[in-house]
Symmetry: D2
Subunit: 281 residues, 4 copies
């Protein structure tokens, strides 16, 4: 069972494969890791250490039998627990080089926490925002980078308000925004929009934002604010889309809103897409 | 690889175990199965075929190494796809007998669908209720049977209504009711309360029930009904508890309400328990 | 609160919207329903009643404020609890017509149960397969229909077998196959491949299929079968892809395999796509 | 909408309630928060910042209508993002005092990361362990504290190995260990066992531990180690139980093992409990 005995056994992964099927991506998923993220906040110096779920992979040419899975984890370790856009580019290059692949791919999903201040009392506490990074490097040169965030908000139904003598049903809605960036050459790759900016746009588009802490004066404020600003899922996707379609910093985008309707067991949803996505399904 | 060759190999499960650790329960879980359930509705003749997730097990004496897992599935097959209280008793007896165990245990989780009629338009459609059966047979004689259901409802916040000049935040709430029944002798075992009755009690205790289909006249009705009947999670658990504590057909019970607060990312919850549970954690 | 009073209030959804944002799809999701499905099995007469999670929607022109959500549920009710390919087409047409939309879209997710017979003992029991239907009707004429299934299998690692003097790590793998069909004219729409056929192809490509019930003679058989037929995730996607790329009944397809590696907390995965998908992300 | 206008409105929560139903616990759940945890590792100075899901609550006397939800979040904020046993006691006292309740309760669920070293190559990387703290303070004096951890391991089937000429099915198993501690007086409360110690006991009881990174020499090692150390779920719960029942530092405990059987779609599980639990269901 000594390492020596290993040198004589062959490495199955390097065998020739004659099925003539190239693999779009192969790697590891659902890898839990702890990383310090920067680049989410408007304050460029801000960073936060959070739990993440990662996926790392590479394409595989048709003649090669398999990739070296353990190297993917080693490539991640070289990031030394830090994750920013530049680090993602370097990781994509390492994944590709160490596998001898044409393309490399990765994704990271994590909750990032931002302070939220109650509108009247001014009480401050952190709220979690579910974020995702997905990136694909083609031929070690062409990059598609996607940053996404799910923003929970309050939505109050315009129809319910209109047809009722008093009251209006409202609920928690989830606004998932996906921003896609293309770069013909990784050398010029630079992302100029951060997720905190998107989060603020979304919260400003809702009937009311959510808050981790609300005193009675705040609860009165947000209750009336929501009643004054009714939104259908249609209104939510349109309001957020109007901001994104003007944004030259984004190549393609999707806004999906899902309302957990308080009068139904099912949800209401709406989707708008814009720009030209580089990703076919 | 013929069956014959098997007769000579020993059956590991029947080996003597000297660790002197009796096992409370051992078996299979997350078994998906399709069954026809009866006994949920007030109409005793009603039945419904639904997808289920089942768990089946038995206790194991300290001197025996293992149980026979495949027999558990065979025991379930003998139920021939039908599930009612009598069938559960028979299954518990089979599980025990075929393993030579003192105790046997099972659980079934499934969505059961009931018609719900819109309050004004009268439109009818089915709504799903998440149900669970859990049962434990001690020494083949003493039975603990638990039936549970999660009822989704609308709750409108009394505080938000009181402190605001107009409007009130409301949301989807989930009321999980757990009814426990004890029988010193399985022979006398008979359950006289069905989950549909519990569902109706819970929906009557909420700010408003949920409906699969609501026309505009109905939406106006439920919007105003909810505003007229505000409920805290505290009110919900208390209203449901008041009905259960009077109910001689139940030996022990728990009501848990979870509101998906429309003004917060987190939920509000409350729990009340009554009677004397036979189950220690 | 009488229906009469409603006739005077305006219908907010029909208001003019001046934001000039057309909505790709808007509707309801996570609607639980009970339906009788046919068209999954090779036996064309076979059908099964199962619990489903449905999503129904339509596109919305930029000048219209909102759709009529309740009509979506009514459209589903008209299917009278039956779901087959023809019924899906009719539902897509109803969704579109009743909303006055250009496009309509739907999806259904459900577990379908098929008998599986143990290889030696011949014991038979049902196993669940997670299935999905997704369909999009463009301009009431052009159809994209996607049928998917997740098949759980056993995979044994070729590298582990090769480098070890005895044994080899193996685990449960999940093979998700997605078949896409395009029809320029709904009138000619006809799907000639059923998911049971795909399931059989996938199970034949694995180290071994899974079984709901295995006696000791069967367990010996599948243990040795898996050791004799080692598979990387790369082998799995390639084997299934070789069958699909030859299949003229499919316009585009994806095979994704995820192994719940028994030696790691993370999973191994691989993806191959073929044909020309009509769906951009 | 000024704070002033609030002083005149009454505080609904302080109303008298005449339903005569005391509430066991009421509060908030699913609150996401970022905290620095200590007390998990054998190295008492070790700490780690991780994402958590928290629940905070208190009992409510029958005559009081409701609790003050926002104070629960404020109580958590006073912990200043740090979580250890002493901090949990102080938080329980704050929760109780600020609500004027008899009892207080809390729970925290989080992934904690520990280094794991490959057995031959010596490669090191972090692996996540899902941990939970649950605590209940009765009358501000009597404490029940529960610490739990889920440890993923490899289990190889003894039966499969015994009856087969070669190979043996193996899979990922999840060992959930729950340690309960009782203190008649919070003043003497002190927990002397940490979860890292439990994790090491569990990993030593399995066919093999899991590792975040394994080179080929390591994969050979763990493959053969697992084949040399077969374990049923029964063996796993017994091996872990033998250690716990001797441990005077624990008042009550539960071990639950769930094997994701590689030859079945369903799982195998086993449960053993010991000591005297203070918690009825």
């Amino acid at each position: 069972m000594s390492p020596e005995t290993m040198t004589i056994t062959r490495d199955v992964q390097t065998d020739i494969d004659d099925r003539r099927v190239a693999i779009r991506e192969v790697g590891i998923s659902d890898l839990k890791t702890l990383m310090t993220v920067s680049g989410i906040e408007l304050d460029e110096t801000a960073e936060q250490t959070v739990s993440m779920t990662a996926s790392l992979g590479a394409s595989l040419r048709e003649e090669i039998k398999g990739i070296h899975m353990s190297r993917l984890v080693e490539d991640l370790l070289e990031a030394e627990g830090r994750l920013d856009f530049r680090g993602i580019l370097n990781l994509l290059l390492r994944l590709r080089d160490h596998q001898g692949s044409d393309d490399s791919v990765l994704s990271f999903a994590f909750d990032y926490f931002l302070d939220r201040q109650a509108p009247v009392s001014g009480r401050i506490a952190k709220q979690a925002y579910s974020c995702r990074y997905e990136a694909r490097l083609k031929d070690g040169k062409e990059l598609t980078f996607v940053q996404s965030v799910e923003v929970p908000v309050t939505t109050l139904c315009p129809c319910s308000k209109e047809i009722s003598s008093y009251g209006a049903h409202n609920q928690r809605g989830y606004v998932d925004v996906r921003l896609e960036h293309h770069f013909a050459d990784i050398g010029e790759a630079d992302v100029k929009i951060c997720l905190e900016e998107v989060i603020e746009q979304v919260e400003a588009s809702a009937s009311a934002p959510l808050y981790p802490i609300l005193k009675r004066v705040d609860e009165r404020f947000v209750t009336m604010q929501a009643y004054d600003e009714p939104r259908f899922v249609e209104d939510m996707v349109r309001n957020v889309s109007m901001k994104l379609r003007e944004d030259v910093r984004v190549d393609a985008w999707q806004v999906k809103v899902t309302n957990h309707e308080s009068i139904h067991q099912h949800n209401a949803y709406a989707v708008v897409r814009g720009g030209s996505s580089a990703l076919r399904f």
